[in-house]
Amino acid sequence: MKRTFFIFSLLLAFSIFVGYGQEKSPELIAIKDATIVPVVGQTIPSGTLLIKNGLIEAVGQDIDIPPGAKIIDAKGLYAFPGMIDSTCTLGLEEIGSVSATIDVRETGRINPQVFSVEAIRPDSVHIPISRSNGITSALVVPKGGLIAGKSGLIRLVGYTPDELVIKSPVALHIEFPSGRGSRRRSTSPTQEQASRQIKELKDIFHKARYYQKRKEAARKDSRLALPEFDEILENLLPVVNGELPVMISVHAEQDILDTIKFVKEENIEAIFYGVTDGWKIPEEIRESGIPVVFASLYGMPAKWEDGYDALYRNPSVLSKAGVKIAFSSQSASLAKDLPYHAAKAAAFGLDKQEALKAVTIYPAEIFGMGDKLGSLEKGKIANVVLADGDILELGTNITHVFIDGIEMDLSSLYTELLDKFKKRHK
């Protein structure tokens, strides 16, 4: 466990300055005359953004462009931070109906030992498509069972899984109660079954703490027996030690309340996912201080009585109550649609600025990367997107994408096939 942590931290530290097989970055890039939307702070008309060694060196209006810098004339273009998909299956899923191409769901109910990033296929056709739509990082999340596994945050470029990983693990994923209130299931567990699942979780956490204590005690006192290795408990240690947050998929009103209680009692750091019924209890969620990642808004309300727009207005209600929110595509082939989920919520009352933040700075903060990703500020990783309009709009064209200061090739399976068959139709 510790070792994995160490390796990933090392990777994080060094990989920023390494080219990922794409063209090697010039040391200095100056994007000039862009309308800069830093997300944090005011929009800067005709501003300059300076990138040095993969990091944002300066953002503003009166910035001297150093000699030797590669200049990108961005007149008429807008600069945004690269977007972050807060839950997706990029790299884990290629073709929906072909199980051989899917590595999302491990069998069994309790799987804290699996790491999503260890199954990521860097050559997934969905990665370049998402990237060319302005998404530069994504949380890749395992699904299924009560404890699904551990997620990782990736950059959307790289030849090997290691080149892709920014941070792993980011969270342990719990689906509580598995099945209940989820829009995708036809049958829901009863309240009794749900309570049993909470109890099951509490039992496991309790065991992990006891396991920890026994290990510590044995280390201090050589007369005490070291407990037998337990894969599940071993993999829960970072959570019970407060080093790793849990991301809990929860939907129904009572389940959200129960989960808040569970999180408090266990004294663990938590992120909510889904929260379909959140709009019914915004105050309780705000008081819990737990941020919320929404699932895809491409869905129907859990119940007709909730109103046809329940999913659409949920983000607005929670945001206005003061909950920190983020959006997700919950997909691989449609990860590219991330901005439209945010815009859809804005169509139903969410402040447009907040909608933008919920695909940039908020996810960065929620995943503990607020000082490195999610906005255009000095010192941050230079994930920059240039577009001819509002990045959340359907008709907007993305013209440039930089990841770690490296300009990306925007071609994808889409453009390759288009070009091939354009030739046939000349």
Binding site: Y298, M300, G395, Y414
Partner: protein, 440 residues
């Protein structure tokens, strides 16, 4: 005896026809009107009388007593059409046999499907609701208006073309059918799918000839004695209707190769393909599709859900439109149907379509494909008062549908909906309070 029954049936249907009352009167004031076929009118009004558009323009005087909708700052477009849906049906797939051309969606209409409300909340006023894709030759489809609260019969659009569903590729060859059945159903390959369709049309041709010969002999001055009519075959009837040009094919297809083969079949037998459905590889054979005057009813970008959709590029709709194909964007879903306007907007990015071209994909184009472009699909005088009102431009990601109108009747009104919801919530809270008070 039989003829009498048919006669009675025809009379009754005619009566039904004559009784069709085209809706209501309504004046929509001061919105940005996107007519789709006749340009854009800023601050325009639309007058609907007896369910039909009577006048479009500026400062239309309100006739006395007419209901007026204030659309200031809003966008008015023709009601959205979904060219490929499965809503309002109590059965979709008759998958027990490969050929089921005798089944008809008209027999399984379900006017109580709440999917109709979902459609209305997304500005959809008309759908082409279809048999599923489990069979190479499936059943007859039907066109409906989303008149929530009316009877099934009231929903039917009699003016629409008659269409028969066909399906090629993974679904009819049962690539993902559950392993419970002991004997696989023929066909299991694309070869078999093509062969079975050919077989049925050969049968239909023969059947048609049998009837033609019979009718010819019967029409003679001296018909032969003991002349017996051929046996009626309900399965072949729709196919002969296709050979006579009375029913057109709507063919579920993904791969370019299978579409080419189906075009070949249509030439071999002389039937008309109105549309390929989904058609994810149409961009590979756009010129063949144009040359054969075939429409496309496709997704905007939902793809990679199976192998035959794994080269489905989001440029498909835009590219084919630019090549001259008549394209519509469909939902094929009870959920996606409420955001067809979002899906249409994506073609501006993928394919560079203009706003109006993008809007056509969900209005006049599907109307042409369904043979109802003379009554719906655009805002023109004389057409049905089927209208959707949006609070921002309908192709903006930030927009939402505010009102949906069919034949001058308001079927969805967000403002009213919110008001009613608020009142209901208030009432619920009060009852809860009272209950609590009672317990203490």
């Amino acid at each position: 005896m039989k003829n009498k029954f048919i006669g009675l049936f025809v009379c009754l249907s005619l009566l039904g026809f004559m009784n069709v009352s085209y809706g209501q009167d309504l004046l929509i004031k001061n919105g940005t009107i996107l007519t789709v076929t006749q340009g854009k009118i800023p601050n325009g009004d639309i007058l609907i009388v007896d369910g039909l558009i009577k006048q479009i323009g500026k400062d239309i005087q309100a006739p006395e007593g007419i209901q007026v909708v204030d659309a200031t700052g809003k966008f008015i477009i023709p009601g959205i059409l979904d060219s490929h849906s499965h809503l309002a049906l109590s059965g979709i797939n008759e998958g027990t046999e490969a050929i089921t051309s005798e089944v008809n969606m008209r027999d399984v209409l379900n006017a109580d499907d709440t999917g109709i409300l979902t459609a209305l909340s997304g500005g959809v006023t008309m759908i082409h609701t279809m048999h599923g894709s489990a069979n190479p030759i499936a059943g007859e489809n039907i066109v409906l208006k989303m008149k929530w609260g009316k009877t099934a019969e009231d929903l039917i659009v009699h003016e629409a073309d008659r269409t028969l569903k066909f399906a090629l590729g993974e679904n009819p060859k049962r690539s993902r059918a559950s392993g419970t059945s002991t004997t696989p159903r023929y066909p299991q390959t694309r070869m078999g799918v093509n062969a079975i369709i050919r077989r049925e049309f050969m049968k239909a041709k023969n059947y048609m000839e049998q009837w033609d010969r019979y009718e010819k002999l019967k029409a003679k001055k001296k018909p032969p004695k003991n002349l017996i009519p051929p046996r009626k075959d309900l399965r072949l009837e729709p196919l002969t209707a296709m050979l006579r040009g009375e029913i057109v094919a709507r063919c579920h297809a993904y791969q370019a190769d299978e579409m080419i083969e189906f075009i070949n079949l249509s030439k071999e037998f002389g039937f008309k393909i109105a549309c390929f459905e989904h058609a994810w590889e149409a961009y590979k054979i756009a010129k063949e599709i144009v040359a054969n005057n075939i429409g496309l009813s496709v997704f905007s970008d939902s793809w990679a859900y199976k192998v035959e959709a794994s080269e489905g590029i989001a440029y498909n709709a835009g590219f084919c439109t630019n090549q001259g194909v008549l394209v519509s964007i469909n939902s094929d879903s009870g959920e996606r149907i409420r955001r067809l306007f979002n899906d249409a907007a994506k073609t501006m990015k993928y394919g560079g379509l203009s706003e109006n071209e993008a809007l056509k994909l969900i209005t006049i184009n599907p109307a042409i494909q369904l043979g109802v472009d003379d009554i719906v699909g655009s805002l023109e005088v004389g057409k049905h008062g089927d209208i959707a009102v949006f609070h921002e431009h309908p192709l903006s990601a930030y927009t939402r549908c505010e009102m949906t109108i069919i034949e001058g009747e308001i079927y969805f009104d967000r403002e009213l909906y919110l008001k009613e919801r608020e009142e209901m919530e208030k009432k619920e809270k009060e009852t809860a309070k009272k209950k609590k008070g009672g317990q203490q």
